[in-house]
């Protein structure tokens, strides 16, 4: 961060993103993110369970409006996020490099993240078409099944990915009308906070995406156990970790979505089934007659 030359640079403060605002963690705690040489890059908020609780409140409050937004509008907003990210790709490349990536791989990752957002933007008004059905019941009824967003989704973003893993897990959740609370990678948290700024500039309504930084071992149980969260997504951990999450999720029959060992750089790491995983299916009957 210290640059050679006469001008004294201004260092960025990395905060968290809750309800469309950028507060510090209510706990006041932090952890120092260091580069490979042990030099401190930044002080990162060590988010608390209360931050998570507040985020869930914000996400729940934002859900009705976001779910009611037209598919077209959600698609436009996701496309806008891509536009904003494209405009700021240099910053994200720099942050990835600070956290240990090579320039070439960092650029590739940022490009892939932008393209992934466009990919999901394109699904907003189509996934309903491929996953819904009109069912030919044998009685004189019009019967149709449609997808509806499940609600508030808690996302434990992949720990080994600075940006692509994060974007890959947020986009399919929100394009389907859900809101989310996301725990950023603990090893590489910088881009998550900058990505919050991109979201903020993209007409994403407050509370639709909430991004926290902090320690996995402190926060996972809250992500998994909160009674007002409808689904939990996790991308890391061994069998024991998974079991713990699943057990806690059972509190309120949370939908549990296991994305462990996904190679987010792969083409198949983006597909509409990832949208479907956080959707419910509603079937309606209505008589046909006069």
């Amino acid at each position: 961060m210290a640059a050679s030359g006469s001008r004294v640079p201004v260092d960025k403060t990395y905060k968290i993103y809750i309800d469309g605002k950028f507060p510090r963690t209510e706990s006041g705690r932090y952890f120092a993110l260091k580069d490979a040489g042990g030099v401190v890059i930044a002080n990162i908020c060590r988010g608390s369970r209360k931050d998570f609780r507040n985020s869930v409140v914000a996400a729940r409050s934002a859900f009705a409006g976001w779910a009611a937004a037209s598919a077209y509008l959600r698609g436009q907003i996701l496309y806008r996020i891509a536009e904003m990210l494209e405009g700021r790709s240099e910053q994200f490349v720099t942050e990835l490099m600070l956290q240990g990536e090579s320039k070439r791989r960092a650029q590739k990752e940022v490009d892939a993240s932008i393209d992934r957002l466009i990919y999901y933007a394109g699904w907003s008004d189509k996934y309903q078409q491929i996953f819904s059905s009109v069912n030919p019941v044998s009685s004189s009824h019009f019967n149709f099944s449609v997808l509806e967003p499940t609600g508030v989704v808690a996302v434990l973003a992949p720990d080994d990915s600075g940006l692509l893993g994060l974007v890959s897990n947020i986009a399919p959740v929100i394009v389907g009308g859900n809101t989310c609370v996301v725990l950023a990678s603990e090893q590489m948290p910088l881009c998550a906070v900058s990505f919050a700024e991109v979201l903020h500039a993209s007409d994403v309504p407050a509370g639709v995406v909430n991004i926290l930084t902090g320690f996995r071992d402190e926060l996972t149980e809250h992500f998994a156990s909160h009674m007002d969260v409808n689904a939990v997504v996790y991308c890391d951990g061994d069998a024991e970790d998974a079991k713990a999450i699943q057990e806690q999720a059972a509190n309120n029959i949370k939908r549990v979505i296991d994305r462990v060992d996904t190679d987010w750089g792969e083409a198949l790491a983006q597909n509409p089934y990832l949208i479907k995983q956080t959707q419910e299916i509603k079937t309606t009957w209505h008589p046909i007659g006069s």
């Binding site: 077209y72 394109g122 189509k126 046909i288 007659g289």
Partner: protein
Amino acid sequence: MSTESSKLAFTDGWQYAPAPESTDHVQVDAEYGLFIGGEFVAPAEDRYFETINPATEETLSSVALCSDADVDRAVKAARKAYSGTWSKLSAADRGKYIFRIARILQERAREFAVIESLDGGKPIRESRDIDIPLAAAHFFYYAGWADKLEYAFPGRKPVSLGVAGQIIPWNFPLLMAAWKIAPALACGNTVVLKPAETTPLTALKLAEVIRDADLPPGVVNIVTGAGATGAAIVNHPDVDKIAFTGSTDVGRLIQRAIAGTGKKYTLELGGKAANIIFEDAAIDQAVEGIVNGIFFNQGHVCCAGSRLLVQESVADEVVQKLKDRMETLIVGDPLDKNTDIGAINSATQLETIQSYLRLGREEGAEMHQSACKVPERGYWCRPTIFTGVSQSNRIVQEEIFGPVLAIQTFRTLEEGLSKANNTPYGLSGGVWTDKGAKIFKMTQSIRAGVIWANTFNKFDPTSPFGGYKESGVGREGGMHGLGAYVRLEV
């Protein structure tokens, strides 16, 4: 003072002052060439024709007349772009180009809206609020399908066709161009498109957008001309697929011309839709639906609700309310923001409509028009209804394509249904009832491709559109609209 047909007084008193849309930011060139191979080029025979403003009869611009040689050139450019570039791009990149078209259209929306109204006569409020936003939305929707086609065809591998020849009408010029170009490109095809001869301008401006979006040259080619140009496109041996929207008569000619060639085709043709109002409908909203169904866009709508079938028990009430509502419709300068009904698109079309008005009276029907003033210059038709008509009247059977409604009554659901289906057309229909079960029974039984229940003339890029019977074959819009532009391999 109330008129004899209404107890309410809609003339006199407070009037709306002119509210003209500003046009000084709009750029229309004096002359346009053909858009072939990514640039505007002069036509081979150096011939041009004029496009006029039907509200003022003034010339707007001079556009190139595309000869057979020009069509050949355009198809060659489209073929070269197809084999050389477009089919080699990744599907995601194709999508990105189409997204660009959508975004640029959104940026230039107001300019396009003004030009659309100038060239075609439709009210600025419609171009601004409906035509242009929907056109951009179509590009946006289909852009997203480009890299997702395999999901739309379970068990099959969709493969692009090649070069699509597309011929569009004058009633929704830019929107029809979007309906044609967007899915064609998304599926990996290249395009030669001919706008209608009375409304070429927004297609030519779209060519500018395509150029500015940096689409590879030749992917979209836009050629201007009339029937002969269209025929040349249809008959060209190197066109793989024809898409046509227009009259049933021309559609028939095209289907014959293509016979034996193996070309794929979709036809979106005329209609004579029945708008059916039951006694248990929300009557005031149904009346609004009638107005929207036949007077929107001056009735220049293939899916217009041009026949009203109203259950006898509420017929008088409906007709009275309709007449009152007609008195509040403003016919006038398309560029005035308060205009509801703009200019009839051309002198020819106006003559056609007027001949039907004469015919209707000759056939013994009773004609009623609103009392509104119309400007002196330009082509105008007041909103018109005919009562005292029967199923055999020609004004009930034939498509008029103007703001003219034929009104019949029915007594039972079966009778209403029978009358609704008793036509060689089958594009659309409307059902108005508060009873859900009846809605589904009617939608199940009406033989038409688009059925509006308790609404009318609603369009969305995700919603398929197309007709049964002589209203055409094939669907545009939605997931189903992709099928016309791919071959399915196992």
